[in-house]
């Protein structure tokens, strides 16, 4: 089970700040996102490419998850 944190526009769209997703051990971020879209119907309006972070750093979809990772999906950044 992985907990995904959501922020800003995406938290509003999905309607919550965190969602728990069941994935098998050794899954990649790309696989987690597929599961997320399947298990959470409210995620449908999200764009096809999603920016993700693991343990407070940007990662690619090929990133392999480890137990205890902090995962986040980030809406388009707009700082500054």
């Amino acid at each position: 089970m992985v907990t995904i944190r959501l922020f800003a526009a995406y938290a509003e769209l999905v309607g919550c700040d965190t969602v728990d997703i069941a994935v098998s051990a050794g899954a990649t971020i790309g696989e987690l996102l597929s599961e997320f879209r399947r298990q959470v119907p409210a995620a449908a309006p999200l764009p096809s490419r999603l920016l993700c972070a693991v343990n407070l750093a940007h990662v690619l979809p090929s990133h392999v998850l480890q137990p205890g990772d902090e995962v986040a999906i980030l809406p388009p950044l707009a700082g500054g």
Partner: protein, 142 residues
């Protein structure tokens, strides 16, 4: 030390953090809430962040600039509700000479906009409210 703050930003305290007798050139950038975006009149902005990651990413951005150029970098981003004309971000790069100060300052603000997880919601004069997506704007906007 925190790169994020909920209080109004002023440049002098941050300047004092990076000044030193060896640093003769200090370049800085202030990002200020503009009164219009994409032709719509803006009243105020609400900035929010993935705070833990934003702090970590700001630290990486600063460390990378300080490793690449002989400069000391100061960086602060404000969160919360900002009125038009208020300062959202300050970047300062102090170096021995102006070349490295300008280059590092520019690099840090570009990296912040590209990498640091901060978001803003604009409140328009016409009553509307929108999350800002810089990628959806004309290239030179933002």
């Amino acid at each position: 030390m925190s790169y994020l703050t909920d209080s109004p930003l002023t440049i002098e305290p941050l300047l004092d953090e990076v000044r030193s007798p060896e640093r003769g050139g200090i370049a800085s950038f202030l990002g200020v809430v503009r009164s219009e975006l994409g032709g719509r009149a803006v009243l105020r902005l609400e900035y929010s962040a993935y705070r833990e990651m934003a702090e970590a990413e700001c630290a990486r951005v600063v460390a990378e600039a300080e490793a690449r150029w002989p400069v000391k970098v100061g960086l602060r981003h404000r969160l919360g509700t900002l009125e038009v004309g208020e300062t959202a971000v300050i970047v300062i790069a102090a170096g021995g000479h102006r070349d490295e100060a300008f280059l590092a300052c520019r690099q840090v603000i570009e990296a912040l906009k590209r990498r640091v997880p901060i978001w803003k919601r604009e409140h328009y004069a016409d009553g509307g409210l929108d999350w800002v997506d810089p990628g959806a704007l004309a290239p030179e906007q933002g």
